[in-house]
C-alpha cells in the first residue's frame, strides 16, 4: 500500500519518465487540495489516476503541466521530475517544449478555428520546419480519419467525440514524450470512448508516447492502463498494477460497481461505510 510503490518492475531511474514526489497543492493560498501525492510513470507506459469527483485527479495533472498557476493554484511542497529534470517551476510552454503536454478535461478546442488550424496550434512550440509539421499532420489524420473529413469545419461545430480526437491530435502535434490526458471519456457515448481508448493504446504502442490519464470511468481505464493509482480527497489511497486493481474486492465494490451477490442488508451498508472510511 505504499503510495510511492514502483509501477511494474521498473527500478532503473532511466525508465521513469515522470515522478511526482509528495506534492501539496494550495489554491488561493488557503484551500489545500492535494495532501502529499506521489506517483511514478514508467517510460512508454499508460498509467491511470482513478477516483471520484473532487478527489484531486485534475489538480494532480495540472500540477504536473503547471497549468495550475493560471488558476491561482500553487505547489507548496514536494517536487516533480520529468525526464530526470525538476520541472515544478517551469511554465506550461517550457514543459510542452520538453515533451509534456496536457489534454484538458472538457477538450477545450478552439471553437472559432477549423480542425486543421486547431491541430496546427499544437505545433506552436516546434522549430523543426513546415515539412515535418505537415508530415505529422498526415500522421494525425492517419490515426483519426474522421478529423481529415472535418478538417475545414470550425471545431465549435463538431461533435464531442470529434473534439476529443481534435484535442488529442492537437497535443500529439507537439511531438510529446508524454500526454497528460484528463477525463477523455467525459460526456461521450460508450462506443466513442472505446474508440478513443483504442487510439490511445495504438499511439502509445507505435509512437512510444507515455500516458498519464485521469478517469472516472474506472472500468475503461483499468482495461487499457498498465498501472493505476486511486485517489480520494487529495490523497492516493491505493495503487497497483491494473490487473491487481481490477481483481481487488474493494475496488470492485467501490469503483466498478460489481459488489457481492444478492440484495444488501442494512448491516452491509454499515460495513460499506466503515470500509469506505478506512479506505479514505
Amino acid at each position: 500500500m505504499s503510495a510511492a510503490a514502483q509501477p511494474g518492475q521498473t527500478s532503473d531511474p532511466a525508465d521513469i519518465i515522470l515522478s511526482v514526489n509528495n506534492i501539496e497543492v494550495v489554491y488561493d493560498h488557503v484551500i489545500l487540495v492535494l495532501k502529499g501525492v506521489s506517483l511514478i510513470a514508467p517510460r512508454g507506459g499508460i498509467v491511470a489516476i482513478l477516483g471520484a469527483n473532487g478527489a484531486g485527479k485534475t489538480t494532480t495533472l495540472k500540477a504536473i503541466s503547471n497549468l495550475l498557476r493560471a488558476e491561482r493554484g500553487d505547489v507548496t511542497k514536494g517536487g516533480i521530475e520529468f525526464n530526470g529534470e525538476r520541472v515544478d517551476r517551469l511554465s506550461p510552454s517550457d514543459l510542452v517544449r520538453r515533451g509534456c503536454i496536457q489534454v484538458m478535461e472538457g477538450r477545450h478546442c478552439f471553437g472559432h478555428l477549423s480542425i486543421e488550424e486547431n491541430l496546427l496550434t499544437g505545433a506552436f512550440t516546434r522549430r523543426d520546419g513546415q515539412a515535418a509539421i505537415r508530415r505529422d499532420l498526415e500522421m494525425i489524420y492517419g490515426y483519426f480519419p474522421r478529423l481529415r473529413e472535418r478538417r475545414h469545419s470550425m471545431a465549435g461545430y463538431t461533435s464531442g467525440g470529434e473534439q476529443q480526437m481534435c484535442a488529442i491530435g492537437r497535443a500529439m502535434m507537439s511531438r510529446p514524450k508524454m500526454i497528460l490526458l484528463d477525463e477523455p471519456s467525459m460526456g461521450l457515448a460508450p462506443q466513442i470512448v472505446e474508440q478513443i481508448f483504442e487510439i490511445v493504446k495504438t499511439v502509445n504502442g507505435k509512437e512510444g508516447v507515455s500516458f498519464l490519464l485521469a478517469e472516472q470511468n474506472t472500468n475503461m481505464a483499468l482495461k487499457y492502463a498498465t498501472y493505476g493509482y486511486i485517489m480520494e480527497t487529495g490523497r492516493i489511497v491505493m495503487d497497483g498494477p491494473a490487473q491487481a486493481l481490477r481483481e481487488n474486492e474493494d475496488v470492485k465494490e467501490f469503483y466498478l460497481g460489481v459488489g457481492g451477490e444478492g440484495r444488501k442488508s442494512f448491516r452491509d451498508v454499515k460495513s460499506y461505510k466503515r470500509r469506505k472510511r478506512w479506505l479514505a
Binding site: H108, T121, T125, G160
Partner: protein, 369 residues
C-alpha cells in the same frame, strides 16, 4: 401539388421583427413621397425639411453629395484603424484599452519629437524622417513590453474592471510622460519628409467639381493596406493562428504551449504600429497635439456598431460612422444649428445597441445542442 407547396410556404412565412422594421420604413417613406407630391406636406413644414429636403438636395447636387461621401469615407477608414487597435488588444488580452487614444498621440509625438532631436544634431530631411520612424516603432515595442511586464503579467486572472482601470492609469502616465518629454504645444507632422503627398485633385464629375485631397487618398490607401496586411497575418501565419487561439480560449492556448506573455507583447506592439500609422495620418490632416486623443473616443461607437471582437466589424463600423456623421452634419445639421458631428455617432451607436447589442459582426456564439 404546387398549390400545396405554395400554401405551406405561405404558412411558413412569418413577419419577423426585421421584416416589420423594413416594412414600416418603406411604408413611412411611401407616405411621405405621396404627401409631398400631392402637396399635403408643405415646403416649410418640419416633416418636409427632415424627411424630404435632404434627399432632394442629394439628387439635385450629386457633386456635393459625392464630396461629402468621400470625406466621410476617409474619416471612416481612419476610425476603422483606431477601432482595429482596440479590437486587437481586446481579443487577445481581454483588456478594454482606454489608453488607445493617448497611445496614438504618444506615437505621433515620438515620431515628430525624434525628428526634431535629429535636426539639432544635423540630420535632416527624408533620412531623418525614416530614422525617426524607426525610433517611434522601437518606442512602441518598448511600450508593449513594459505594459506586458508591469500591467498585464501582475494582474493576470484579475477581474476585467481592474485591468480596465489599469489602462486609465496608463493613459495619465502617458499624458504626463508625453508632456514632460515633448512639451504641450501642438507640433506639425513631418508629412512631406515621409513622402506623403500634398495638394488636391479636382474632378469635374456629376455636373460639378469634387475636390479630393491627395493626403486623403494616401490615408485611405495606407489604412486599407494596413487592414489587409493584418487580416492576412491573422489568417495565415503561425503567430496569427496563435493570436486567434488565445482570443478563443486563454486556458487552451496555455495548454498547447502558447506563451501568453509573448502573444501579449506581439499584440500590443501590433496595436502600437496601427496607432503610429493612425497618428501620422490624423496628425498630417490637422496637427499633432494632445487633443488628438479624443478621436479615439470616436472609436467607441464604431466598436458598438461593429462588435468588440470583429475585425471586419471594426472596418464596416468605421465606414458607417464616418459616412453617417459627415452626411448627417451636412444635410441635417443646419436644422438644429449645426455641429451635430460631435454627437451623432454616439446616437447612432445608442440606437444600434437597442436592436443588436452584440454589434453587426459580434462574435458568433457557437453553441452545440
Amino acid at each position: 401539388m404546387s398549390d400545396v407547396s405554395l400554401k405551406s410556404e405561405l404558412a411558413a412565412f412569418r413577419m419577423t421583427p426585421g421584416l416589420w422594421t423594413i416594412a414600416g420604413v418603406a411604408g413611412f417613406a411611401l407616405l411621405l413621397v405621396i404627401g409631398s407630391l400631392t402637396g399635403a406636406i408643405g415646403k416649410d413644414t418640419f416633416a418636409y425639411r427632415v424627411f424630404i429636403d435632404p434627399f432632394a438636395q442629394m439628387v439635385e447636387m450629386p457633386d456635393l453629395f459625392a464630396q461629402t461621401l468621400w470625406e466621410g469615407l476617409v474619416g471612416g477608414v481612419l476610425y476603422a484603424l483606431i477601432a482595429l487597435g482596440f479590437v486587437l488588444i481586446f481579443k487577445a488580452s481581454g483588456v478594454f484599452n482606454f489608453a488607445q487614444g493617448i497611445m496614438v498621440v504618444f506615437a505621433a509625438l515620438t515620431l515628430v519629437g525624434a525628428y526634431e532631436k535629429l535636426g539639432t544634431i544635423g540630420i535632416r530631411g527624408e533620412a531623418a524622417a525614416f530614422i525617426a520612424l524607426g525610433v517611434a516603432l522601437a518606442v512602441m515595442l518598448a511600450l508593449a513590453y513594459a505594459v506586458e511586464r508591469v500591467v498585464l503579467r501582475p494582474l493576470v486572472n484579475q477581474p476585467d474592471i481592474i485591468l480596465f482601470m489599469a489602462t486609465f492609469g496608463l493613459t495619465y502616465l502617458l499624458i504626463g510622460l508625453g508632456e514632460a518629454i515633448f512639451g504641450g504645444n501642438p507640433k506639425v507632422m513631418i508629412a512631406d519628409q515621409l513622402y506623403l503627398p500634398r495638394g488636391a485633385i479636382d474632378l469635374n464629375i456629376l455636373g460639378g467639381r469634387v475636390t479630393i485631397q491627395k493626403l486623403d487618398i494616401a490615408a485611405a490607401v495606407i489604412a486599407s493596406a494596413m487592414i489587409a496586411i493584418l487580416a492576412l497575418f491573422f489568417q495565415y501565419t503561425r503567430i496569427g493562428r496563435a493570436l486567434r487561439a488565445v482570443a478563443d480560449s486563454h486556458k487552451a492556448a496555455l495548454s498547447v504551449g502558447i506563451s501568453l506573455n509573448q502573444i501579449w507583447i506581439i499584440v500590443w506592439f501590433a496595436a502600437g504600429v496601427v496607432e503610429l500609422v493612425t497618428g501620422i495620418m490624423w496628425g498630417a490632416r490637422s496637427d499633432v497635439s494632445f487633443g488628438l486623443q479624443t478621436i479615439a473616443l470616436k472609436a467607441l461607437p464604431v466598436l458598438i456598431l461593429g462588435g468588440f471582437t470583429s475585425i471586419p466589424g471594426a472596418i464596416v463600423g468605421g465606414l458607417i460612422i464616418g459616412v453617417g456623421e459627415k452626411i448627417g452634419e451636412f444635410y441635417w445639421g443646419p436644422l438644429v444649428g449645426g455641429a451635430i458631428e460631435s454627437w451623432l455617432a454616439y446616437i447612432i451607436a445608442l440606437i444600434f445597441l437597442l436592436f443588436r447589442p452584440q454589434g453587426l459582426f459580434g462574435d458568433k456564439i457557437i453553441e452545440r445542442i
